[in-house]
Amino acid sequence: MNDFIHKLESLMKEYSQYKFQFHFRIWKTEFLRFFRSMTNYNISKEITSASCTMYKGKKSYSFSVDDPTFDKIHKGIEDAISIIDSLPEDPDYVDMDDDTSIAPETKVVNNIESLPLEKKIEILSSISEEAAKREFKIFGTFITNFVKGFVLNSNGVKKEFVTSPIMLDVKAVSDNNMVTVLESFGGPDPDKFNQKEFTDSLMKKVDMACLPVVDAPAGKYEVILSPAAIGEFIGYLMHGAHAATLDQGSSFFQDQLDKKVFPETINITDEPHNENLIPSSYSGSGRTLHDLPIVTNGVFKNFMVDNYYGNKLKMDKNGNEADNLVMGNGGKTVDEMISTVKDGLYISKLHYMNFINPKDMTVTGLTRDGTFLIKDGKIVNVVNNLRYTESIGRIIGAISEIERKRHALPSSENYGAFGISTSLMPHVKVKDFNITSSTETI
């Protein structure tokens, strides 16, 4: 890769009347997908790609190349030179990133090698045997990626990155009625995967999933949101914390900087170097990432500002992209939190959430992978999946209790290069959660 970087640097010198930004990435995945306690398919995939954005004054043109070679990129630049003069200028032109600082080096193990397919199948076979004892089958994905690449530009940015995330999602599905529960593991370190703990936790959920299924009518409920559920709500909340939405007039946090927006117990930070999470060293433009407080003691502290919007809106740039969200913890155990719910719900996971209006953070979405009825402090029934229509701002504002423990959760962008990120979230208790209808299915 170093040779390639040197060649591109010499290209930038050769065409010094232009400015360039290059992205280069080699992405490998070993992707096992399983259903009904058996293999669906195994995929080995390797994609190498490069993209180049070329600037001449306030004019720009971009191209991308699969399986890039120096000759292909050189040709792309020659083609771009023949095009760029014909394009109009962008009066809002912003110079590319100039942050040349380098993130601390982290040791990365290639998890495609440390977790070969044989090992994955051994793990899944064992979990499947436990599930079968309870008349459940397992469905899901076991993914190991290895990604390396660099960002290089004419302002001296030269950042190399390497990452090798693991993601295991196991859904246990009842043979009898398709009730589904989920357990996940994600992170950079296979040694942190404890198979026994993982299996025990999943089987505890399977036991809950054996409770009788009931429907829940529309109405306001006190709910316990799992770490995955509150994590997804906070992920959507971050839409309004991007400077881009401020520029577009759709930010929930417009005019809220340094103002109290949530209760004092709410703390949300983006922590790209948290050791429990998959690290993110650099932003897409090559800016070195640092911890960023977003909400501190209920006060909105920072927008996430990339190079473009930082220049355009005259804001301090940080490059954060909410890929490593951490919610501050509280003082309760989840059992203590459930024990004080008289008539409410436990929500394991959200599905197909979408904004009705991003400015006021109104959304609609559904529950999946285990929704449970709580009566007098105990989980007593499985509930059909439910639809909620809510404001995320109201939900965060109505958090009354937060769990002491936090859980590292994987999520994937799924499309493109299947980027896997992680967040660290506790259970939370929320008042008056607005259920608008039942799906009548599980």
Partner: protein, 479 residues
């Protein structure tokens, strides 16, 4: 490329290979993007090439792919695909059965009227720039976007049954959007809606006549800021094509994909409420509702001569006179269900594993114009242009908000309404249909972005629809 596919197929000669196929795709993409009147992105990806090898061994699939087209790399992925299948077969409780079909040799090459990849970028930028410039100067509009995506793909599919098919297609996806914001909130209008993609080249963009639709959507966006909301909790609604395509897509298209029934998509996209025992007797919709999949209709962007499972394209009725009669299937799922495969197995690129995907899912037209239907509606709403969409894991409970609605009283449009939101249960909703407009209102509406599978794929597909009326639909009344 055909020779490369044949040569690679010849490598799949191990005695335990039950079936194998090889695909090569060469894809061109060009995106031109203006924001607030200024060019923000002109980007191309030309001749992105990949090869994928799929093998069935011991009743288990193995797959490998690469963008490196060297012979060494291709030999490596053949070995990886075989190894993946053999190892994967260790975690198995019932093998995949694969009923053989006769091989097919065919070619299809679409010729656009105006090949966008042969038009100089300057001309395309100039055409869109005029539109963007007008949008960027609109009073009361805080944000505007014009975007066009041109796409071309050459594909070769070959399998161990002797099938060898090559195709070339061109698709275009033009769209524009304006946003208005004030103390009353933030409202957006798009044109031509959520599913603007069509088979074709630059002529697709020209036919849409963006320049003469700007003022209309800008005025509507501004008017929406202060427009009233729906007040009823139940209403008759007419859904126009700019949104109906998505209603069909989400609550019939995905629901009738057989892989969801088998749980093959539980880990990401979800399941379906449709069960095997519903075939032939489940009343999915009213008697008027006839829905079919037709990968053989060349007008839609879901057309293909043969799918990525080696099945020739065909028309298959899914819902006939309201009754569920068939599903979108692969060879494997069709065999398990005692059905014929419907030619719906597709992957976006050769580097991806084929899945059951919608091709052209269509509602058969009824009778009459939209104007007639409005006249025939005593009290209700006309809804159009998708704003928010959400549907559950089983495709049974949906909720949609459209960008705009029009109140209808005594057969006349009275005024617009803001963020009309309706919801329901799939079966009840389709059974409440009492009118479908005729062929004169029927058209194809396509997308580039139907997401499914892991690693995720976004598929090009389309829907043929004509406006429909639904009675007593549940509405979410606003303040």
């Amino acid at each position: 490329m055909k020779e490369l596919v044949k040569k690679t197929l010849n490598m799949l000669n191990a005695p335990d290979v039950q079936f194998g196929d090889v695909r090569v795709t060469v894809t061109d993409n060009e995106n031109i993007f203006f924001e607030r009147g200024f060019l923000k992105g002109a980007a191309s990806e030309i001749a992105a090439t990949s090869i994928g090898v799929r093998v069935l061994i011991g009743g288990t699939w193995g797959f490998a792919s690469t963008s490196d087209m060297s012979s060494t790399s291709i030999e490596k992925i053949v070995k990886e695909a075989v190894q993946n299948a053999r190892l994967g077969a260790r975690f198995k409780n019932s093998p995949i059965e694969y009923k053989p079909v006769d091989g097919i040799v065919a070619s299809y090459h679409f010729d656009p009227i105006k090949d966008p990849f042969k038009i100089p970028l300057k001309e395309k930028v100039s055409y869109l720039g005029e539109i963007a410039s007008k949008m960027g100067k609109l009073d009361g509009i805080v944000h505007s976007i014009v975007h066009t995506h041109f796409y071309k793909q050459y594909k070769v599919y070959g399998n161990t049954e002797g099938t060898l098919v090559d195709t070339t297609v061109y698709d275009a996806r033009p769209s524009m959007m304006v946003s208005a914001a004030d103390q009353n909130g933030f409202q957006t209008r798009t044109f031509p809606g959520h599913m603007p993609a069509q088979r074709g080249g630059f002529e697709v963009l020209e036919k849409l006549d963006f320049i003469n639709n700007i003022d209309k959507i800008a005025e509507e966006a501004k008017e929406l800021l202060t427009a009233p909301r729906v007040t009823e909790d139940q209403a008759d609604i007419i859904i126009n094509n700019g949104h109906l395509a998505l209603q069909l897509h989400e609550s019939v298209g995905h629901a009738t994909e057989a892989d969801r029934m088998f749980g093959m998509e539980i880990s990401y996209a979800g399941k379906t409420f449709v069960k095997e025992n519903m075939l032939g007797n489940f009343k999915y919709g009213s008697d008027l509702v006839n829905i079919y999949t037709d990968a053989s209709d060349k007008r839609g962007i879901g057309y293909h001569p043969v799918d990525d499972d080696g099945i020739p394209s065909k028309r298959v009725d899914i819902i006939k006179n309201g009754v569920l009669v068939d599903l979108q299937t692969s060879r494997y799922t069709a065999a398990e269900l005692g059905l014929e495969p419907s030619s719906n197995m597709m992957a976006t690129h050769a580097s991806e594993f084929p899945l059951i995907r919608m091709s052209n899912i269509c509602i058969a037209p009824g009778k009459g114009s939209l104007a007639d239907l409005i006249k025939d509606t005593e009290n209700g709403y006309l809804l159009d242009y998708t704003k928010t969409w959400s549907i559950d894991d089983n495709r049974n409970n949906f909720q949609f908000t459209t960008e705009i609605g029009w109140k209808i009283e005594n057969g006349e449009i009275k005024h617009i309404v803001k963020e009309p939101t309706y919801f329901g249960i799939t079966k009840d909703f389709w059974n409440s249909c009492d009118r479908i407009c005729g062929p004169e209102e029927w058209g194809f509406y396509g997308t580039f972005y139907c997401g499914k599978g892991e690693p995720g794929q976004v598929m090009h597909l389309s829907h043929g629809v004509a406006p429909m009326r639904f009675k007593n639909v549940k509405m979410l009344p606003g303040n």
